[in-house]
Amino acid sequence: MTPDHAKPTTGAEVDCKAALESLFEFLDGELDGSLEERLKAHVHECRPCFERADFERRFLAAVQAARTEERCPKALRERVLSTLRAEGLGA
């Protein structure tokens, strides 16, 4: 499962362009081991890429934290449960 784009030649160092193109996949843990290692090495050595990665990481964390903003309404939960009970749930 390797991404079929922006993939530097195996063993090659990752440059800024390649790093930015694969940044989200890197942060999402979607890169394969070798590319992930090379990207990590670049991000740690390159200040602009490091800052960009840091920004995107904080952005993704903020989005993840907003997850609790929206919950299943209580009335809907009750309705689903009563439907399922009629079907035999917990009967």
Partner: protein
């Protein structure tokens, strides 16, 4: 919470595990349903119908796999079926893709606007509102991956699209979200009046 699942009930349609695992995921399924349909009551119908189908086809769930992924897939199928009765699927918005690309082009502006506020704990409502305004094709992917923590491959399967499409929609969806949040931050005066001296 169902804490009193009957251990003696062996009927295939009423598995005791259903109450624990599937019902605990109802917030997640609801959020996903909301990402598929703008209308809250349509989303509620999707959740209701999806749970009924899930309950009746519990035997198709493979133990040990992510139950949310299974439920998301059922919800998506329910949604598609309800849509066949209504309007056709809205085609992916070229206009929005252009906005996303523009947002990427305005990277410095967006980052400059968002950077000072990203760590605020009261940003949740603004993010939620911005998310609700995303075009649905982007929103579903962002919700699955960013809120529900699904791998790209799972999001692709749930939505019936290639992984490459997940990747590009995710990128654009996130950039759109950033753009709209940066806009919001400036409009709402969330940005500090002074350019420097923000608390660490």
């Amino acid at each position: 919470m169902m804490t009193d699942a009957p251990g003696a009930d062996t009927r295939p349609t009423a598995p005791p595990e259903f109450s624990a695992a599937a019902i605990a995921a109802m917030d997640d399924v609801y959020r996903f349903a909301r990402s598929l349909t703008r209308d809250p009551s349509d989303a509620e119908d999707v959740v209701q119908d999806a749970y009924l189908r899930a309950f009746r086809s519990w035997h198709t769930f493979q133990p040990g796999t992510d139950i949310r992924r299974w439920l998301f897939t059922i919800a998506r199928n329910v949604f598609l079926r309800s849509r066949e009765r209504g309007q056709r699927e809205v085609t992916l918005d070229d206009e929005q893709s252009a906005v996303a690309d523009a947002a990427q082009a305005q990277e410095a502006w967006v980052r400059g606007g968002l950077d000072p506020i990203l760590d605020r704990t009261d940003l949740g409502p603004a993010i939620s509102a911005a998310l609700a305004q995303l075009p649905e094709s982007f929103r579903a992917v962002v919700v699955l991956v960013d809120l529900e923590d699904q791998p790209y491959e799972a999001a692709a399967e749930v939505l019936g699209i290639p992984v490459g499409t997940v990747r590009s929609r995710l990128f654009r969806g996130r950039k759109l979200l950033q753009h709209s949040l940066a806009q919001h931050a400036r409009d709402a005066g969330l940005l500090p009046a002074r350019p420097s001296g923000s608390p660490a």
